[in-house]
Subunit: 251 residues, 2 copies
């Protein structure tokens, strides 16, 4: 994802597969809902349905954590909530800083899901001096100058970047230099980070583009081989790399 190594080789001896890790939060959410309704146990089938996966996958996933179920019965909801929380490291509180308090940064600061489980917004940081001191989601925005001090004082190891693309790498470098080792990047840029720093990327326009691809597929399919509509241009025909480049390019 980033140029430097992004997440370690995933081949730690006792490692849980990445794909499984990515689903644990899903299970945890479903379990928490059950817990709130005081449901004592679930079968893999029921829980899988609630989490939107199939039961075989869920059982395999849980098998990496240990044998936490009871054959013939299912899983103890409370117990699993605890085990998964612990595995994810949510039994401790992670202080998080958000850098870039524009529309998105403000939305993130206000997002309830942050504060609720294991995360605490330790500070909001923005480069605009006019923002400094203004409270967003009840937290006063601080100026970028303070970044290193904030990271250090609060022992922050997770940073969220919600700046414009142009500023992202620079902010990233400062976060990393100050000791942050996990970054959630909302800016549409590839970040490069040193070994040992994890970057996850959330990119709205990429998600839309993937949807558009499938959408186009559907359209092309339902009227397969029809003239008009989506011009499913020659796939194998024009191989010559230049000469007849259509003058498209939106801008």
């Amino acid at each position: 994802m980033a140029t430097g190594r992004t997440h370690r080789p995933a081949t730690r001896s006792r490692g849980i597969p990445e794909a499984t890790v990515a689903r644990l939060p899903l299970y945890l959410r479903a379990l928490t809902a059950l817990s709130e309704r005081s449901v004592p146990t679930v079968s893999s089938e029921e829980l899988a349905a609630a989490a939107g996966v199939n039961s075989a996958k869920l059982r395999k996933d849980f098998s990496y954590l240990g044998s936490y179920g009871t054959r013939g019965v299912g899983y103890d909801v409370e117990y699993l909530v605890y085990q998964i929380s612990r595995e994810l490291g949510l039994t401790q509180d992670w202080p998080v800083v958000i850098v870039g308090i524009g529309n998105l940064g403000a939305a993130l600061a206000n997002y309830g899901g942050f504060a609720s489980r294991g995360f605490r917004v330790a500070a909001l940081i923005d480069a605009d001096p006019a923002m400094a001191g203004k409270p967003v989601a009840g937290i006063p925005v601080q100026h970028t100058d303070e970044l290193e001090k904030i990271i250090d004082d609060n022992g922050v190891s997770i940073g969220v970047i919600a700046t414009p693309a142009g500023a992202a790498q620079q902010v990233c470098d400062r976060l990393v230099a100050a000791g942050v080792t996990s970054i959630l990047n909302f800016a549409p840029t590839v970040l490069s980070v040193p070994d040992g720093v994890d970057v996850r990327k959330v990119d709205l326009s990429i998600e839309l583009q993937i949807l558009a691809f499938h959408e186009q597929r559907k359209a092309g399919e339902e009227a397969a081989g029809e003239p008009g509509a989506v011009p499913l241009a020659p796939k194998e025909s024009g191989k010559g790399p230049d000469g007849d480049v259509p003058a498209v390019m939106p801008a």
Copy 2:
């Protein structure tokens, strides 16, 4: 992801692998940047670095699109931009509706990346009557009552859900009933949709939880087998599913 089938089996005869599709937007962005700097050609090595992947993967990816490179030289930037745009369906304009104009919805409406490449925000929809008529990002918010009419009038096939979790499934059902076949879901819920509808999910708290997992790993590792600090609870010891359930559970 969702309960109903989410994306088709990916085994369309001439299909481009999902993993490749997910990277095309990345390549496109890197290429667009090169194009703006009037760079005429790139090697797979250079482009791969810019996109944050390795060159073998990039070449394999491009090989699914056809033979668009020149051996000994590289790829023609303009030509590739066009080919990838076409493959992703971005040579047409996709009208998109955003439902739920809270902090996040507003951020999305203002997000430049939406409008810039192939997407147009056709309407903003919110359930709060007080919002109706108020412009956000220059577009007046419309009431949920109008949803079906808006979808229909604008020929919208892509919807973005930025409502609270509780409203998401209901909004989703209405979008689908009105003809939307691709959904980008920001609400922290599993959506169930009928066959043929694609759902992609963006979940902030899940991303953070995945980072927390790796973060905890790092902490446990650098002081392996030390007392104090992160209590790396017994991994293989307590197997008995109940009896000694720690009374944790944050709420």
